[in-house]
């Protein structure tokens, strides 16, 4: 019985780990946030985005980037724990 349980449970945890990792990847995708910062600058430079909108977005994105970088630093090299 123990062997059967183990076989059933292990793939399940493995999938959970992968889903968790993917969610974190998306949530803390610093590269995508950097791209958004560049896009914000470009649209402002081309006159398509007002100064107010540009400043508001910039502040927002820079805060997101700080969080993403901090989270990445803390998560790097660590196993993701899945609670039972």
């Amino acid at each position: 019985m123990i062997i059967v349980d183990d076989l059933l449970v292990r793939p399940f945890f493995s999938i959970l780990n992968s889903i968790h990792a993917l969610a974190l990847e998306e949530l803390y995708d610093a590269e995508a946030i950097r791209d958004d910062i560049k896009e914000n600058q470009l649209l402002y430079d081309l006159g398509e985005r007002s100064e107010d909108e540009y400043e508001r977005r910039k502040t927002e994105l820079e805060a997101e980037l700080r969080v993403a970088e901090m989270a990445r630093e803390q998560l790097s090299g660590k196993q993701i724990q899945v609670r039972e």
């Binding site: 560049k38 896009e39 470009l42 649209l43 430079d45 081309l46």
Partner: protein
């Protein structure tokens, strides 16, 4: 300031020859750029009191601005730019680096001699559908022959149709400017951002490593 950082130097790029000196607004508020030479090469630097300058917007702009000033210095210089953040403990460590990397810098200077980098970004007006492939082809056709070389750069926004850097001889600058003006006039439905001249960031590739 740490005692061993009081003679620190921040480097912007490498040129041939010596005796570069100009007033500027450099990284961390530096006010004077000057050259530190080894044989035929010089690194252009400003004084700094850290080996780890912070990459703020202000410092990133200052890095670019000094390089652009250097590019136009004394009738125009060929510059191999350094990436942001290259600080050295003192003149001796910088000269050592120049000695070790002289062949690579000399080769890079030959590759980009007499040229500048120009940037072209093309977007569709918001809400306008355009034939993306046709736009890319039009850019390649019009500007390809005016440049020595070009690179496809990162399309960091879904709105971007083209993001290219061109390596252009100084003597072809006017023709390139004119071609950009014509391209804009012919494409009302496109937004064009034309930037430069820059030092050839996208056309030299020297790994320096952590030997500051």
């Amino acid at each position: 300031m740490e005692e061993d950082e009081e003679d620190a130097l921040y480097a912007y790029g490498v040129v041939e020859g010596e005796d570069v000196e100009f007033e500027t607004e450099g990284v961390d508020g530096a006010e004077r750029a000057y050259s530190v030479g080894h044989r035929s090469l010089s690194a252009v630097v400003t004084d700094i009191d850290t080996l780890d300058p912070e990459r703020t917007d202000e410092n990133a702009h200052a890095h670019n601005d000094v390089l652009q000033q250097l590019l136009e210095y004394d009738g125009g210089q060929t510059v191999v730019p350094m990436q942001f953040g290259m600080a050295f403990k003192n003149e001796r460590t910088l000269r050592n680096l120049l000695r070790e990397t002289r062949p690579a810098f000399t080769r890079a200077l030959r590759q980009v001699e007499g040229t500048v980098e120009l940037g072209l970004k093309v977007l569709a007006e918001e809400g306008v559908e355009v034939d993306e492939a046709a736009v890319r082809e039009a850019v390649a056709e019009r500007f390809g022959s005016l440049a020595d070389s070009s690179t496809d750069d990162d399309l960091f926004s879904d709105r971007l149709l083209v993001n290219r850097s061109f390596l252009v001889d100084r003597e072809d600058r006017d023709a390139f400017d004119q071609a950009v003006g014509e391209f804009e006039a012919e494409h009302d439905d496109l937004l064009v951002q034309y930037t430069g001249p820059w030092p050839p960031y996208n056309f030299v590739d020297i790994e320096i490593g952590a030997k500051q």
